[in-house]
């Protein structure tokens, strides 16, 4: 059984040495020009989907929300309040209500 582990340790030792050597050798960094993907995915259509699409995905993609657990109305209200108060999302009172209602329908918990 030990044989399965020992070779790994040996290889790691080499990697570490190689890394140290290379790190010490870096004398210049190379400019980067890359493309970072964005997402154009919209929220599933339904009552309030216009409000959530118009107000939320400028700062973060929809999967941020869709990957959240089911939460109570109170917890969703807190999330929307935090976006407005702490992160300065310019959301009208009517839209904030529509967004909370949408979230409770889509990702609600009792």
């Amino acid at each position: 059984m030990l044989r399965t582990v020992l070779p790994v340790v040996a290889v790691l030792g080499l990697v570490l040495l190689a890394s140290s050597g290379q790190a010490a050798a870096i004398t210049k960094l190379k400019s980067l020009k890359l493309n970072v993907p964005t997402s154009d995915t919209m929220f599933p259509a339904g009552p309030g989907s216009d409000a959530i699409n118009n107000n939320c995905i400028a700062c973060h993609s929809a999967d941020h929300v869709l990957n959240q657990p089911s939460l109570s109305r109170g917890a969703w209200q807190e999330v929307v309040n935090k976006m407005i108060t702490d992160y300065k999302a310019p959301i009208s009172a009517d839209d904030a209500k529509a967004i909370v209602d949408y979230l409770v329908r889509a990702k609600g918990a009792s």
């Binding site: 790691l12 004398t27 964005t38 999967d63």
Partner: protein, 412 residues
Amino acid sequence: MQDHDVQPSGLTRRRVLGGMGIASLALMSSPALAQQTVDLHVPGGPSTRIITTSYPQKGRMIVQRSSPPWLETPFEVFDKGVFTPNDQHYVSWHWANFPSDIDVDSFRLAVRGQVNQTLSLSLQDILQGLPRFDIAAVNECAGASRIDAVPRVAGAQWANGAMSNALWTGVRLKDVLERAGVKPGAIQVRFGGLDEPVMPGAPKFLKSLTVDHARDGEVMIAFAMNGEQLPLLNGFPLRLVVPGWCGVYWVKMLNDIEVLDQPDANYWTATGYRVPDTPHNFVKPGETGYKMVPVTRNAPRSFITNIRDGDSVSAGTPASARGIAFGGDCGVARLDLSIDGGKSWQPTQLGDDQGKYGFRQWQTQFTLPARGARALMVRCTNTKNEAQPDFPIWNPAGYLFNTIETTHVVAA
């Protein structure tokens, strides 16, 4: 990055990413609709996440959020070595507005505020003009494993891959501050990067350390990880490395260092990233009347990496277990394994010490005595004699989860 050639006998390794089986088949039969996924096995869901290879300089990553990116390291990576490969080092940004085009000749790092001389350092000044050093250190998000909070809480739903270990190379923050000359009366040092909020008026992402911490000789301005320049998404060209402290302090694309003579009042230092000031930062849901404090140091954690939930292990035959541990803000003193759900513990052998802030590998052998469902657990005790707790850590924002991990197996 290849897997081990030799399969430990007595173990039936689940197919790589059990949850991917069907998605992989779909990929082969219908490339146009292909979408690889991973099942994070979270009660209450949503459990499935997309696997991507479409981010620059990044290999296979779990998408927790497309933009700004939250990319999680797939767990099987941690079984392959003590250092996380740069192309699978996890990624987390607060604001979507950061450059993807960085010119190394025009980039400057400012050092300003309560200093005798304001500095504007080029990358050549930093790479050529200051002594450099290496340090192994784990970068772990304060919200790592938030998906395990019960009850669940809002925030990045990280599983166990919001942590990565690298050998960092850079210069001492202390040396840079000395060059500028910190004035008497300075109390904090604040760090900012090239990322900017999308909405006007939103708080720019900034974090601060005390002057003493900033000058401890370990806090690093890193220009390389694992021997290569940083990937863009991990903070190219410079990032702060704060060994032993949560990833939120490791400011990426660092271009501004401001020495303050007043406490930093910005949102991210004064308001965000708060935990209860209680043992293990633990409170009961609904509990009130406790003080909130900023997240600071990492907590000890450990994982079995070669056996996954749902695997079967031969009963009555020796099997091997191995994995990783880290002490938080100090080294690993011991790593114990339990094969009876935490009733009794046996020591394991620790691997080479790469530095007290990095991952420490461990390995051992064990024999499950009889057939049936078994719970394997590992517990790290750090060099400050702090052990992982055996009860589920919970706090309102889901920070600093470090409960002992349990791997459910079937002895067959």
